[in-house]
Symmetry: C2
Subunit: 474 residues, 2 copies
């Protein structure tokens, strides 16, 4: 079916625009115009194009421009040229059946006060020093560092992280046992794949806990079993009620319950792993932030052959950096590689920048400053809550970046979160982290990413949301 | 079982070192010394520690130092303290059964001349401009850009990449259809998971082709079927012999065969996808580098509802950057998100840096310079091969970063690769990319990462390796 076009129609159809317009050459513009016309159905399959000389004349360009454009579209499959015949359109777009479209969620109200957990102080990100570290390594990296990266991470960062974990976290880590990854979730996925290859089929997780970790474990095909948490952390004896041979535990500071795993349970958990020939996956979540005492060393040091240690800079520097580490039992290093054949390390220049940042002492300095800032901010938040919300009880060790606010019986926590969000205050409901329902009502308040000066107003908004009079706020 | 230590033994055991040595406080050093002694079995479970006053006297420190150290190790589970009784070691390390260790591969000989395919010119990485782009965005990013990243990528880079692909690659891409990922492998994994969720079970791949892409597809549970490649690219009609409903194709420049998919086959491939209600995954591998003509536009523009487009900066800037993109059919955007619940985007500052790099025109400038460099390097390589290896035939379109060198019948390609490696020349054997054996013997020579001045010597070494006299080289 040939469709003829009047001469004037061609100029309109392909819209070459003004001569010299834009960066593209005339033949590219002509090819683009014809391509678009074919794609959107204005030029239908079988349509004959004018001879190149005729089109060139009409468009006021050289014949070369037209033959180049035709040749390009022949190479791309949109046009077909046969000797002694007109060049014709050889392509027609597909009319796909419309799919039911997902309704777009309404835009959430703007966040003015952020008490959602899981973030460090983004305003305090050490921009100057980070940029300096990147600048230094971009200049100094040898050129083969810019080639295919080692999937386990750059040797320099593996060494630096191993030293850091030995020195600051009491880990038993040699560089060969360290894998650089994109964060705790990535590290958990790699660990779970390795455990699956080792015959593990069932994994225990803390309840309540991070849903993202559950999702990551489940995405590898492991069956996930909740185990409750109390004031001493994970209820280790309850592991026996599950078929799990491995468990994910935030020993230093549980999220969201805020408990620290008791000394007795630490020892019992490692014994459990030994007896089951099992494994502990230690999520060293926000362990750097302990305000009442020295941070407790990682469990990994007690049983490096049984414990996978996961950590990252997401809660200390920024989750946008996408940098973390995994320390695996040395005997499982070959299994870890084999189970993750296409896993890649984070960008090499970022890895080298983090190594530089740690080696120059900037990471320790940042942590010291952050610890001071968070300790005083936590005190301010607790004082403000005690004054303005005396009926609510705060729970959790003096550590980390969040507190748990227990609500009086009968409070509708979900409604409070909704009312607070409407007033510009973001926080979360403990129920959102639970796998097993509970009558206990509580809110999780993160104080990492809120300015000290915003706390009084944020707590006022929270009090109003809880009293059911959020809308009466000025 | 209590083990008593003589007084002098304690000072040796915990090795506090010189006063004021190192950055750590005395109590931390004492805790670390005791922890290590327990871990390595020098202090056994049940052993009684000296009363704090006695140990302090022996070590010449304050009693506070000892009680702090004991308290730390009690919290960590290494020691147990009971009122009215000595503090005792409550932990013993596990003697794990030794695992059969993987024999370490001998270190490969050093690479002096690199003709392995897959790398751009690492010496030409635009270090100064990249560092400037990172510096600019690290200073200018708003603080919430440093929070939890959008798993589909930062909106600014998605917009910039969509514009770039429309302008330079003839793609039909809106920002919402673009997902930023770590590279082509990552993009393929996400695509395969999505196709699995859409009911696809079988995937066709080009044979020969990149093993890493096959591994990535297989890791998602898809069955992978080889389809042969000839001088016109993928043999589209052979798809019907497989149960595949999707296919991965490097239409612009096949690796390693070097063919460009013919116009006729482009159209037939998309028609195949329509008829099967199937999908094409277009790996836009090194498509920027075409030396004989204008690069051909992506197939994705012909059928945006059927084609996934994968690209990255690994072959244009550096694989160490870990930055790529995936353009998915708009109707599958919800499925793509749902099938990749824990996938993360690359580090945000890198994403913003790439957006800046493209927006300032630095990417186009880099590509223009690279195209000129690779074109003349390819000519030099072909000339040198023609002079010094007249019996070998070179194949492949004037494009990309590699050529295929067909060897005379009877040549032992594997032995030639081994001999070349022993002489410091890295290259690869076509057989390494094949799923189906073939009698054709060929080498894949990548010229991205070799200096022009190294080419004559590299070809000499290759000639020697092929003649079986590599060791006679000076």
């Amino acid at each position: 079916m040939a469709v003829s076009q009047t001469n004037s129609a061609w100029a309109t159809l392909v819209d070459l625009g003004e001569p010299g317009r834009g960066r593209h050459r005339l033949n590219d513009r002509l090819a683009a115009g014809l391509r678009t016309a074919i794609r959107d159905g204005r030029l239908v399959e079988g349509a004959a194009l004018p001879p190149s000389r005729a089109l060139a004349e009409e468009l006021g360009c050289s014949r070369w421009v037209v033959t180049e454009a035709y040749g390009q579209l022949v190479a791309e499959g949109y046009l077909a040229a046969r000797v002694g015949s007109a060049t014709r359109v050889s392509w027609s777009p597909e009319a796909l059946p419309p799919r039911p479209s997902t309704p777009r969620a309404a835009a959430p109200p703007p966040v003015r006060y952020d008490l959602a957990p899981g973030l460090p102080d983004l305003r305090a990100f050490p921009r100057r020093r980070w940029a300096e570290a990147v600048r230094a390594v971009t200049g100094s990296a040898v050129h083969y560092d810019l080639g295919l990266p080692d999937p386990a991470g750059h040797a320099r960062l593996r060494t630096t992280v191993a030293q850091y974990l030995r020195r600051s976290r009491g880990a038993d880590a040699q560089p060969a046992a360290v894998t650089v990854c994109a964060g705790v979730t990535d590290g958990l996925v790699r660990t779970c794949r390795t455990l699956r290859a080792e015959g593990v089929t069932d994994l225990a997780v803390e309840d309540p806990g991070w849903g993202r970790l559950r999702d990551a474990a489940a995405s590898t095909g492991l069956r996930v079993h909740p185990v409750p948490v109390d004031a001493d952390g994970l209820r280790v004896d309850d592991l026996a009620r599950t078929p799990a041979r491995a468990v994910v535990v935030a020993a230093a500071h549980q999220f969201p319950a805020g408990a620290v795993l008791s000394p007795d349970r630490r020892a019992r958990l490692v014994r459990w792993a030994r007896e089951k020939d099992g494994f502990v996956i230690e999520d060293d979540y926000d362990a750097e932030f302990r305000y009442d005492r020295h941070p407790v060393a990682v469990m990994q040091g007690m049983a490096p052959g049984r414990v996978f240690l996961l950590g990252s800079v997401s809660k200390t520097l920024s989750p946008a950096l996408g940098l973390g580490w995994l320390v695996a039992p040395p005997a499982l290093a070959p299994a870890l590689r084999a189970a993750n054949p296409v896993a890649t390390a984070p960008p090499v220049l970022d890895q080298l920048a983090l190594a530089t940042f740690i080696e120059r002492g900037w990471y320790d300095a940042h942590l010291r400053a952050a610890r001071r800032r968070f300790r005083s901010r936590r005190d301010l938040l607790l004082d403000t809550l005690a004054t303005r919300l005396p009926q609510a009880r705060v729970d959790g060790t003096a550590a980390g970046l969040h507190v748990l606010l227990h609500l009086p019986p009968g409070t509708d926590a979900r409604e409070a979160v909704r009312a607070a969000a409407a007033a510009g205050l973001r926080l979360t409901d403990l129920d959102g982290y639970r796998m097993t329902p509970s009558a206990d009502r509580a809110l999780v308040l993160g104080y990492g990413n809120i300015a000290d000066t915003e706390i009084p107003r944020a707590v006022d908004l929270l009090a109003e949301a809880l009293s059911g009079h959020a809308d009466a706020a000025p």
